[in-house]
């Protein structure tokens, strides 16, 4: 068990090198969710004047979307880095290690969970500076858990894609998967204001539950009835994509 933990920590540390040792390289990824939040609220801010809009202002409503976007892009970036490792042969080295495949996956994906806090944190600082209300420590803690969970799920999905295509050119497929999952939800407006088709998709999209979970505190209070579905959804996503990713790793060389 201790050996597995050491392996996970070592791989996570390597995963953090992208931001620690190539600082300029991570700036677009850190800035992008904030740019989206600012841009969307500048363009669509008046949407908050619609009847049935549950928040005081549009920016507050979409802050959680930005946080999850950061998580999605971070997860996609993990897959792109893995694809680069595959192209360069480094992945072979990982496959030659006697460590269990799930342990290796946790190490690879784990760094995404930490890295996603950077764009989310930056976005929150900007949002609070622009007048978004403090949601409370509990809400932020829950948001952090859900954001990290989504980053893990997105990283597992991107890992599946990377293992299947074995090239960085599959990057758009990784990014669009995460983006689709996050945007086909109650991302811009509450459920009542969605069109029929988007509402139908949002109803079955588990990320809707995650988004609503993160939105607690920013809009409305944190409640157990709003929290447990979000936690369940994120656990399910991580389990499903994680299982696929482990299967993909085990099937390497077949």
């Amino acid at each position: 068990m201790r050996r597995d933990l050491r392996t996970i920590v070592a791989l996570m540390r390597r995963g953090l090198n992208e931001i620690l040792r190539v600082p300029g390289g991570s700036i677009p990824g850190v800035l992008a969710p904030t740019i989206f939040m600012l841009g969307l609220s500048a363009a669509f801010g008046r949407t908050a004047r619609l009847p049935d809009f549950s928040a005081d202002d549009f920016r507050t409503f979409i802050v959680p979307v930005g946080m999850l976007q950061g998580a999605g892009f971070t997860g996609a970036a993990t897959g792109v880095n893995l694809a680069r490792d595959i192209e360069r042969g480094w992945f072979d080295r990982l496959m030659l290690a006697p460590a269990k495949r799930p342990v290796l996956l946790v190490g690879v994906v784990g760094s995404a969970c930490l890295r996603c806090l950077l764009p989310a944190g930056f976005l929150l600082v900007v949002a609070f500076a622009l007048g978004v209300d403090w949601p409370g420590v509990g809400a932020l803690a829950l948001a952090a858990v859900l954001v990290m969970g989504l980053a893990a799920a997105a990283a597992c999905y991107a890992t599946v894609v990377a293992l299947r295509f074995r090239t960085q050119q599959a990057a758009p497929l990784m990014q669009i998967g995460a983006l689709l999952a996050i945007l086909l939800t109650t991302s811009y407006v509450p459920r009542e204001l969605l069109s029929n088709w988007l509402g139908a998709i949002a109803d079955v999209n588990p990320v809707t539950l995650v988004l609503e979970g993160v939105r607690q505190g920013f809009v409305g209070d944190v409640t157990w009835s709003g929290t447990w579905p979000a936690l369940l959804a994120i656990a399910g996503l991580v389990a499903a994509f994680g299982a696929l990713a482990v299967r993909g790793m085990r099937r390497q060389g077949f």
Binding site: A10, R14, F254
Partner: protein
């Protein structure tokens, strides 16, 4: 059931095969054994199936036929056990350019479950052994090709493997770096490590290998010690260039009893097999002298592994080594 009768060989392959998508058979039935503590050379041109064979033996590729055991464990059914006991330096020294040499060694050690207390000590020892002490704290992105290979080797040795796989370890290295690596392989053999070395360089195989397997088109065409393989082909021969204007046919008749004549270049060239090796040179020269022939040049040539390859496959290995490598087949 397979473990009840434990293999005493370090590496054993029986009928090993690998078929890729489209029916491409990169390896078509490899049988080989490598004894513990031996340096086994796997020699062949680009595209012969060397790397595919190695990747199957080190559990990176699943065989589509046959089976193999490394360090006593089946590569397909017990891959984790195999990985614990092998070290691998692949054709591309795949290293993370953002990390330092020390960090990479420590990461490798951690991946192999070496306890933290031992990681630093063992890492420092290996870095010194491969001559990278000065560069250990520099990022690998700044390393030369030779330095990367040495680091790759150190990483392959960090967990003291029983069997070490080196896939074309000196390709692209300058002569000095190549010699350094050769010395390291000899040292490893002396320490009792089994080394499976793939190479396309004749001299490397000749110098380092205790035994060789020569592979072409996915199967082993010859196997044995370098000396035995060369002896199988024949004895050494003597190439002579006579003085201009000599009657080559008469010269041939003058030395007919010393060995078989071989094809030679046009003009005043002769080539004759030496049944008794170098001891025949002086009598041949005396016979030519007695017959009134002057010798302008002479060269004693031992059979080479290229001669062995030529005899078994009909093509030279050295020319084949410069040819375009076979395209990477898609995994099935």
């Amino acid at each position: 059931m397979c473990n009840i009768i434990a293999s005493i060989e370090a590496i054993e392959a029986i009928g090993l095969e690998r078929e890729f998508k489209g029916g491409v058979k990169a390896v078509t039935g490899i049988d080989l054994t490598v004894a513990p503590g031996e340096v086994y050379g796997f020699l062949g041109p680009n595209g012969a199936g060397k790397t595919t064979t190695v990747r199957m033996l080190v559990t990176l590729l699943r065989p589509t036929g046959g089976h193999a055991r490394v360090a006593g464990f089946d590569v397909a059914r017990q891959p984790a056990e195999v990985r614990r006991r092998i070290g691998v330096a692949l054709q591309e020294a795949a290293l993370d350019p953002l990390m330092t040499g020390s960090e990479l060694i420590e990461l490798q050690a951690t991946l192999h479950g070496i306890p933290p207390r031992a990681v630093r000590k063992r890492g420092a020892e290996l870095i010194e052994r491969v001559g990278l002490s000065q560069a250990a704290d520099r990022r690998v992105g700044t390393y030369s090709g030779g330095m990367r290979r040495r680091l790759d080797l150190a990483m392959a040795l960090i967990h003291e493997p029983e069997v070490l796989f080196l896939d074309e370890p000196t390709t692209g290295l300058d002569p000095t770096s190549r010699l350094t690596l050769w010395n390291e392989v000899r040292r490893l053999r002396d320490e009792g490590t089994t080394v499976f070395l793939t190479t396309q360089y004749l001299e490397e195989a000749d110098q380092l290998a205790d035994r060789l397997g020569i592979i072409a088109a996915g199967k082993i065409v010859a196997g044995g010690t370098p000396a035995a393989l060369k002896a199988e082909i024949g004895s050494p021969h003597l190439d002579l260039v006579l003085a201009a204007g000599s009657d080559v046919q008469r010269a041939r008749e003058a030395i007919a009893g010393f060995g078989d004549h071989r094809p030679a270049a046009e003009g005043c060239h002769l080539s004759i097999g030496l049944e008794h090796g170098a001891a025949d040179i002086a009598p041949i020269l005396r016979a030519l002298d007695d017959a009134g022939f002057a010798v302008a040049e002479l060269e004693l040539k031992q059979p080479t592994l290229d001669d062995v390859f030529l005899a078994k496959t009909g093509v030279h290995l050295e020319g084949a080594a410069d040819a375009e490598p076979a395209p990477e087949p898609e995994l099935v």
